[in-house]
Structure formats: structure tokens, C-alpha cells
């Protein structure tokens, strides 16, 4: 087992498992920063996983497929925003509706497009390519990790930086945070909270759709029924644990990805699989514990100073 843990394959597995969670965690953080919990991530990812396959196959290349999927993801975000902001639906219930619609809707769509109910194997898919970086590729060990990843994995890391800059260095990012912190205060200085939350949810949908696209166009090369398998919810937890910041979400997603990859390797040992399957969830619990303990200490220190 140790040799498996020290091979580049293990680190590749971590990055692979991290990518979809990371996109969704970023999606969750931008929505949370604007004051809305986007629980529809799961449904958006599932829809996007199918859209990715369909659009890529229709247009004949993955790039336009990805763009169209991002547009579709943004539209689902818009739909959620419409229900929550215009119709004043409870944000959690609207999200549950979208998630339920995704479970049945993707099967219906897949049936209409491919005649299959279980998986999209009859559609020839165009997945995002792996990127080989010259020179870096040749570094022993490290090169096999830094290079040769799926394009979407690199994009997810770029997205962390972009989202960080967006939220903390741009006027729009400031407005999003202002609305999330205190809607009334933001309104009082002339910010339209509705407009800002619309933008945040659409952006959230676009980011989640990129995670969904990766599921069927990189991780796997086909869509299979219910393939999001709870990743959207895990991402919600990752984002919350990371304090709803892009960088925090990245670190926690990486931790979750590592826990999942470790659990996968551990199944090769004699340890009962029931215990191993607890590893990702145990990590979440421990992580949350440490996070809230650290938060408590910080508050205590502040209190002492005051």
C-alpha cells in the first residue's frame, strides 16, 4: 500500500477527485458570499454532466460543448435566482426541486437523445484533453503530477485565483460581499441587492456546470445515471468549512479529494471496507471540529484583548 501512496498515480487520483468538488465549492462560495445557500449544486452538476456530453457531441468538439454547458448552467442558476428573488420561494426548497428535476430530467433527456436510460454510451463524446506541459513534464516524479492533468483540473485551479481576485479585488466582488454581509446596509448605499444576487447565482451556476462537465468529459467519458452521486453536497460542506472563501474552499476540497483517494487505495488492504468508507466522512467531521475549535479560540482571544 505504501508504494501505491508514494506513486504519482495517487496524487493524480487526488487531483481528479478534487476537481469536481472544487468547482462546486467555488460555486457555493460565491453564492454564499451574496447571502444565498445554493443547494442546487448537485442538480446543476448532474444536468451539466449530461449537457456536456450532448453539446460536445452536437458541436463536434469539447470546447464549444463546455461553453454551451456553462451557458446552460448559468441559466439554471438564473432559474433558481428567479424563484428565490422574484417569487420569494424558500431557497432550499427551490434547490431541492431542481435537484429532483435533475434526477428524472436527465434520464428523460438521455432517453430522448440516445435511446438509453442508464448511460450515454451510444453518444460519441468529446472529452476535455489532458494537457502536457513541456519541460515540466520531464521533472522526475513531480512532472507526472504537475503535467498531464485534464484541462478542467488546471481550469479549476485557475478559477480559484480568478474567484479570489474577483471577490476581493473588484468592485462587483465587494458589492457581492456587501449584500451577503448586510443586505439593508448595501441597499442603503444604492446597491441593488436583487441584481447582485442574480449575478452571484448565475456565476454560481456557471462554476457548478464546469464541475459537472468534468464528470462526464474527463473523469469519465460518458454520462451515467445519477453520476453526481452527492458531490454537490460534499462541495457545500467543503465551501462552508473553508469559510466560503475560494482559497479556503480549495484547501478543503483538496483535503476531501485526498481522503477519497486514500480510501480508494485503502480498499486494497485487508482493512474492512465498511471502516474505509467512513474515511471521507470522518475527515469531514474532524476537519469541521478543528475549524470550529480554531474559530472559538480566535473569538476567545479577541474577547480577552477587548
Amino acid at each position: 500500500m505504501l508504494e501505491n501512496l508514494l506513486s504519482p498515480d495517487f496524487f493524480n487520483a487526488i487531483l481528479r477527485a478534487t476537481t469536481p468538488i472544487l468547482f462546486a465549492a467555488l460555486a457555493s462560495s460565491v453564492a454564499s458570499k451574496s447571502g444565498i445557500t445554493n443547494m442546487a449544486l448537485e442538480g446543476i452538476m448532474l444536468f451539466s454532466a449530461l449537457f456536456g456530453v450532448i453539446f460536445s457531441a452536437m458541436t463536434g468538439n469539447f470546447f464549444t460543448g463546455l461553453l454551451l454547458t456553462m451557458v446552460a448552467g448559468g441559466l439554471i442558476g438564473l432559474l433558481l435566482a428567479f424563484f428565490v428573488l422574484n417569487l420569494k420561494t424558500d431557497e432550499i426548497l427551490a434547490a431541492i426541486a431542481i435537484n429532483m428535476m435533475a434526477t428524472g430530467g436527465t434520464v428523460l433527456l438521455m432517453l430522448a437523445v440516445s435511446g438509453d436510460r442508464g448511460s450515454s454510451t451510444s453518444i460519441s463524446n468529446f472529452s476535455a484533453p489532458r494537457i502536457h506541459i513541456p519541460l515540466i513534464e520531464q521533472i522526475p516524479f513531480l512532472g507526472q503530477i504537475l503535467s498531464g492533468q485534464n484541462l478542467m483540473t488546471y481550469l479549476s485551479i485557475v478559477a480559484v485565483v480568478v474567484m479570489h481576485l474577483f471577490l476581493y479585488k473588484t468592485p462587483l466582488g465587494l458589492k457581492i460581499r456587501a449584500v451577503g454581509e448586510n443586505k439593508n446596509a448595501a441597499e442603503s448605499v444604492g446597491i441593488s441587492s436583487r441584481k447582485i444576487q442574480y449575478i452571484a447565482l448565475i456565476l454560481s451556476g456557471v462554476l457548478a456546470s464546469m464541475g459537472g462537465f468534468f464528470l462526464s468529459g474527463g473523469y469519465m467519458n460518458m454520462f451515467t445515471k445519477d453520476m453526481s452521486a452527492g458531490k454537490g453536497y460534499i462541495a457545500l460542506a467543503a465551501s462552508a468549512m473553508g469559510g466560503d472563501t475560494p482559497v479556503g474552499g480549495f484547501l478543503v476540497s483538496l483535503l476531501f479529494g485526498a481522503a477519497q483517494a486514500l480510501a480508494n487505495i485503502m480498499q486494497l488492504t485487508e482493512i474492512p471496507h465498511e471502516l474505509i468508507q467512513m474515511v471521507p466522512y470522518l475527515t469531514t467531521l474532524i476537519g469541521l471540529g478543528i475549524y470550529s475549535y480554531a474559530g472559538m479560540r480566535r473569538r476567545q482571544k479577541l474577547a480577552q484583548k477587548a
Binding site: 487520483a13 420561494t89 426548497l93 426541486a97 434520464v107 432517453l111 453520476m227 480508494n264 486494497l268
Partner: protein, 386 residues
């Protein structure tokens, strides 16, 4: 605002129901007489439509699916077996109707009422259904309608616990027997040093198994697989990984990749859709994975070169056999029968693709083993209390 929310929920429920019913899209396999009614018209029609044509001596069967046709597995197989029987005997001797109840959680509430409606209509000599989810509705219906005959496949019916009903014939499959052959084939492949398999390293005697959830049926697959492999070479190590569900194909792929990277050359996926992950992993690594429940080499042409063959439970054959026996008056209702190779209840796909994928010595050995299982020389262990 509540109204809007309610509308939204209704819309989403309707959408998901239509999705799993999928009845507006007639699958190519379906044909005239069993074209399913749409959701709404169903209740009205089923009591009257078939009655006119039903002359006194036609044997009529109703196949109630807690899923839909087009699964390319159990349900299609059941439909195929009944269609074959009707074509053979003629529709005036045997006829059947398929009712697709849908397989999603939101469809569950209508399974039992549909079953009871069918019992109530008294138009069918036998009502056929399968899988563990139908066990409870069946127990209820069988007690309520003691004169109605039922067939129940792929899950053990608890006769003793339900007042020993004499109107149910229960069919189980020896997935351990067919898995024995898969295990033997996998063991012969991973130790093959003839160079037939370019990417197999005969020194690592490891084969893999990807299970969905750790339950009795999946363990039955595993038991047979392990026994088959060890009978070929006792040193073979079987790496077992469990997905934890039947849908997470990405996790299935990661688990399988971890196995292949640890020296496994041949795998066996018994994990539903999650098992497709193992097949993709085999494709990525240019290694092998055996298929299950449907002819996956034919279904997944992109990965056919990685799938030597598939292990099938032949639901269609078993129903064909049962109804023929029933027509002769020889079917033992009130009992459970476990069908293996001898009765055609399970099979390993042996087509041109199989002959191309496996060298002759392996195929000959598999035929030999199959014969030994049929004549009882080899008894395959089981994980199921029968």
C-alpha cells in the same frame, strides 16, 4: 408564494415521473400488444382492453416491471423470453402484457396498487414480477388473492414468513456458477504467459472485483469468482473493492484504477452503473474487465476490446421455462427454484467476440468447467442461505 412553490414541486415531480416512465418513447424491442398505456389512461384501460380478445383457453401473463424496458438487462431479458414464447406458441395459446411501473423512488407508491389492480382484474393466469423491492407488495397480494398465480424472480421469497402461500413460484439464479467461470477465465488470463494478452504481466497473480454494495447477491458473485480463480491457481489474489452504491461511476473508476495500478490485470464489475467506471478504467489502462447482467461488450463498442465476455442471468429463459412447465401443469407453485447452467438460468456470453478475445485453450477449459458444474463434479460455494 406558496402556490408557486407547490406548482414548482408538482412540475418537478411530474417531470421525474415522466422521465422514469418514459412511456411516450416506444423502445424498438416493444411491440403491438404490449405497448404500454400512458400513465393517465392506464387505470381505465387495463381492466377492459385485454378482456375482449381473451378467449377461454389462452394463457395470459402480465409482466409488472418496477422499472422500464430498455434497461438492456433483466427487464429486457424478461420481455424477450416472453416474446419468444408467444412467437413459438402463437398468441392464441400464450399472450402477455407488460406494465412498466417505473423504477424511481417517486414511482414506488404505485407499485402495490398496480399489482392489486392486476390481481383484481382476474384476467391473467399469472402475474410476473421481480427484484427485492417487489417482495412486500407480492406477499400482500398473494395473501389477498389466493387464487391468483404469481411468478417472482431474482429475489428469495420468504414463504415461511408469509403463511406459506401456494400461489407463488419463486425463481433465483446461480450467479455464483457463472461467476465461477468468470473467475476461472480471469485467473487463466492473468497467468497466461503465451503473449496472447499483450499488456498482462503473468508474474503478478492478481485479479480484481468491483462490487456495488456488500449484500448477499453481490457476495454470491464474489464467492463464485474467487473459487473459480483459486481452482485454476491457488496463488491468485483477488482484490475486492466496494463502491458503496450502484451509481457513482467516477468512484468506480478510481477504485478500479487503483486496482489496476496495483498490479491487477483483469477485473469483474458487479456494481450497476458504477461498474461502468471499471470498464472505463480498463480502457484507460488497456487491460480487461468482465461484464455483467447484459452483454456489455456489445453495448459498449468503444470498450469491447477490454471486455472479454459478460456473465448473464437469463431471466427470459427462466420465465420461458416456467410458463412452459405451467402450461404442462408441471410447475411447482409454492416453491423456490434456483436455476444455474443446467437449467439455462445463467450463461456466459459465447459469441464471435468472445472467441476473438480469449485463446482456444482458455475457452476449452471454460467449456470443460461448465460441463463439470452441470454434471455436479464441481459444486460452487454460495453466499446465500437456500
Amino acid at each position: 408564494m406558496k402556490k408557486v412553490l407547490a406548482m414548482l414541486l408538482v412540475f418537478s415531480m411530474a417531470f421525474s415521473m415522466v422521465a422514469c416512465g418514459g412511456k411516450e418513447e416506444p423502445a424498438p424491442a416493444e411491440e403491438g400488444s404490449n405497448t404500454p398505456a400512458t400513465e393517465e389512461s392506464k387505470e381505465g384501460e387495463e381492466t377492459e382492453a385485454p378482456a375482449e380478445t381473451g378467449s377461454g383457453d389462452t394463457y395470459r401473463a402480465a409482466l409488472l416491471l418496477n422499472g422500464t424496458l430498455g434497461d438492456k438487462s433483466f427487464y429486457d431479458s424478461a420481455n424477450e423470453g416472453l416474446t419468444r414464447l408467444r412467437d413459438e406458441l402463437g398468441a392464441d395459446v400464450f399472450d402477455f402484457k407488460v406494465e412498466q411501473m417505473g423504477g424511481q423512488t417517486s414511482d414506488e407508491p404505485k407499485w402495490e396498487p398496480t399489482l392489486l389492480d392486476y390481481c383484481d382484474s382476474k384476467e391473467y393466469d399469472v402475474i410476473i414480477m421481480g427484484t427485492w423491492q417487489m417482495a412486500d407488495p407480492l406477499a400482500k397480494a398473494a395473501a389477498e388473492y389466493p387464487d391468483q398465480k404469481f411468478m417472482f424472480f431474482d429475489e428469495q421469497f420468504d414463504f415461511a414468513g408469509n403463511g406459506d402461500p401456494k400461489n407463488i413460484y419463486n425463481i433465483l439464479y446461480k450467479q455464483n456458477e457463472v461467476s465461477y467461470l468468470v473467475g476461472a477465465a480471469a485467473a487463466m488470463m492473468t497467468t497466461d504467459d503465451s503473449g496472447f494478452f499483450a499488456n498482462i504481466d503473468p508474474s503478478t497473480k492478481k485479479i480484481g472485483f468491483l462490487g456495488g454494495m456488500d449484500n448477499a447477491v453481490i457476495n454470491d458473485f464474489l464467492k463464485g469468482y474467487e473459487q473459480g480463480a483459486k481452482d485454476i491457481d491457488p496463488e491468485i489474489e483477488v482484490q475486492v473493492s466496494w463502491v458503496g452504491d450502484f451509481v457513482d461511476s467516477t468512484k468506480g473508476k478510481d477504485l478500479a484504477l487503483a486496482q489496476y495500478q496495483a498490479g491487477v490485470d483483469v477485473g469483474y464489475n458487479v456494481a450497476g452503473n458504477a461498474g461502468l467506471g471499471q470498464i472505463e478504467a480498463a480502457g484507460d489502462m488497456d487491460l480487461y474487465a468482465f461484464g455483467v447482467d447484459s452483454d456489455q461488450a456489445a453495448l459498449l463498442p468503444d470498450f469491447a476490446k477490454n471486455i472479454p465476455t459478460s456473465a448473464l442471468k437469463n431471466v427470459g429463459n427462466s420465465l420461458y421455462r416456467a410458463i412452459k412447465l405451467d402450461l404442462e401443469g408441471n410447475l411447482a407453485y409454492g416453491t423456490t427454484e434456483v436455476l444455474g447452467f443446467a437449467e439455462g438460468g445463467v450463461e456466459l456470453v459465447k459469441d464471435a467476440h468472445y472467441e476473438e478475445m480469449l485463446p482456444e485453450n482458455i475457452r476449452t477449459k471454460l467449456d470443460e468447467l461448465e460441463k463439470q458444474i452441470i454434471n455436479g463434479e464441481i459444486v460452487v460455494d454460495t453466499a446465500i442461505q437456500r
